[in-house]
Amino acid sequence: MVELKDVSVKYSTGVDALNHINLRINDGDFAFVVGSSGAGKSTMIKLLLKEIDATEGTVCVNGYHLNKLKRRKIPELRRTIGIVFQDFRLIPTMTVYENIAFVLRVIDAPTKYIKKRVAYVIGLVGLQDKAKHFPSELSGGEMQRVAIARALVNDPKLIIADEPTGNIDPELSFEIVELLKSINACGTTILMVTHEHELVRHFGGRIINIDNGEIVFDDIMEGTDEI
């Protein structure tokens, strides 16, 4: 669960990135976060990952009160969150298998479990035959699938997808959202930041619109199923 109560973020440059926002995302929700560049979407993600702190208000993510969270506890918080970036951010020196397995290594998972679990999620994103490939040998869509598999492998409570379709072909964008939807159907909360309105219109669901650091719209819309 994600809960932001009266949260403001003011950068040292004087920019008010978020202004007294209130937001609650329940377990199992799928929400699109939309807004123009500089609206405050990235700031919100940084806040949820405890990369920055709120200037005012309280932030709670997966049971962690981020205002009180000590630095040494941040890795613990991040292990409950899977993150998918627009630019994939795969480790170039690791194979597909190693990139995904790395998340489980971090939590000291047994080698047997790692082998089984990684093979499972690689199958889930349809990249069985690419397990031994390096990121440089994959297409944009494939790299994003690896990033999703990496976000998913630790069975996180929440997946934050920051413009996951921004660097891939439009036709593949729908596949990626379908994949995230199927993950959500298994109970994982998904927060997807995007500026692709067609995708939002097509899939529908909860839409959170941020503008000038404020939530100007937060409601459920029906999908049109149009492409």
Binding site: L49, E51, R72, P75, E76, L77, R78, R79, I83, R89, L90, I91, P92, T93, F102, V103, R105, V106, I107, D108, P110, T111, R150, N154
Partner: protein, 301 residues
């Protein structure tokens, strides 16, 4: 951390050396040069120290005894000298030996000896070598209080000059070694920073997936250690070869050996083990620390 994780991180550190071979090679070269500079400086320091020590061993105090003291007293005097803490060597030099040596040196002056009418004006003496020339004054003062001493001739000028030379040389060598160490650390730190900077994104990704600082730094630590260890091995082999060649060349220089003493040059085989261990340990340590410290800057995400 589980054993399987440690095993994984060590393996990852070693893999990183292979995967980032250009950066690893750059670090290796810098470490190699730095280790050689420091190693050669240390070896030079040790040898200069040994040479000065060799020259110091040539110190000698002459203690002239009063004329006419009984033989038992002379022997007792010798025993007392041998019992002194800073005395390394005691040799009795009888008045007869002194006269014979004097005659041998002044072979052309028969008239001088004829005028002695068979008498020997030279005194019995002891020649003493001290272990530590820094405390020669204290030793001479103690001997001066012994019964039967006529006069003492100590090489104060020689000792003072030696002590002065040693002081200056040690200061110069010490400064040189310190400068080498500082320069090495600065260069190594810059090289590893470049290496770590090129992988800052990798570090950030690790942070985002919940890796702890220790988990992230461990492979870098291993990577630096492995690179440093190999640099230490090569530095050792290079030093061995060069040092042996230089000492072999010096063995043929009789003039040089006469000045510094044959035993003053340290043979590499005598110090092979500590040198090998030092090179490898220092190489691994500097490599590991350089990497670990450089990662700190990019770890606060």
């Amino acid at each position: 951390m589980k054993f399987s994780s440690v095993h994984y991180l060590v393996k990852k550190g070693i893999d990183n050396v292979v995967r980032n071979k250009m950066m690893a090679f750059a670090s290796f070269c810098v470490l190699l040069v730095s280790l050689l500079l420091v190693g050669v400086s240390v070896l030079a320091y040790l040898n200069v120290n040994s040479i000065i020590g060799g020259v110091e061993q040539k110190n000698e105090i002459a203690i002239y005894l009063q004329d006419g003291i009984p033989n038992e007293m002379i022997e007792h005097f010798g025993d007392n000298l041998r019992g002194l803490p800073n005395v390394a060597d005691v040799v009795f030099y009888s008045k007869e030996e002194a006269l014979d040596d004097f005659k041998a040196r002044m072979a052309d002056s028969d008239m001088l000896f004829d005028s002695l009418n068979g008498e020997n004006p030279l005194p019995d003496a002891y020649r003493v070598r001290v272990a530590d020339i820094q405390h020669i004054s204290e030793t001479v003062s103690t001997i001066a209080k012994f019964e039967g001493v006529d006069s003492i001739d100590a090489p104060y000028d020689f000792v003072n000059s030696l002590l002065q030379i040693r002081k200056v040389l040690m200061a110069v060598m010490g400064t040189l070694i310190l400068a080498m160490v500082i320069v090495s650390i600065v260069i190594i730190s810059s090289t590893t920073k470049t290496s770590v900077y090129s992988r800052r994104e990798e570090i950030q990704i690790m942070k985002y997936v919940g890796a702890t600082d220790a988990f992230i730094r461990f492979p870098f630590f291993v990577e630096g250690m492995v690179t440093g260890f190999f640099a230490g091995c090569i530095a050792f082999l290079v030093t061995w070869g060069v040092y042996t060649a230089v000492t072999n060349a010096l063995q043929n220089q009789t003039l040089v050996l006469n000045i510094i003493g044959t035993g003053s040059i340290i043979q590499f085989t005598d110090i092979i083990l500590p040198i090998a261990i030092s090179y490898m340990a220092v190489g691994a340590l500097i490599g590991a620390l350089g990497c670990a410290i450089s990662t700190k800057r990019y770890i606060n995400v």
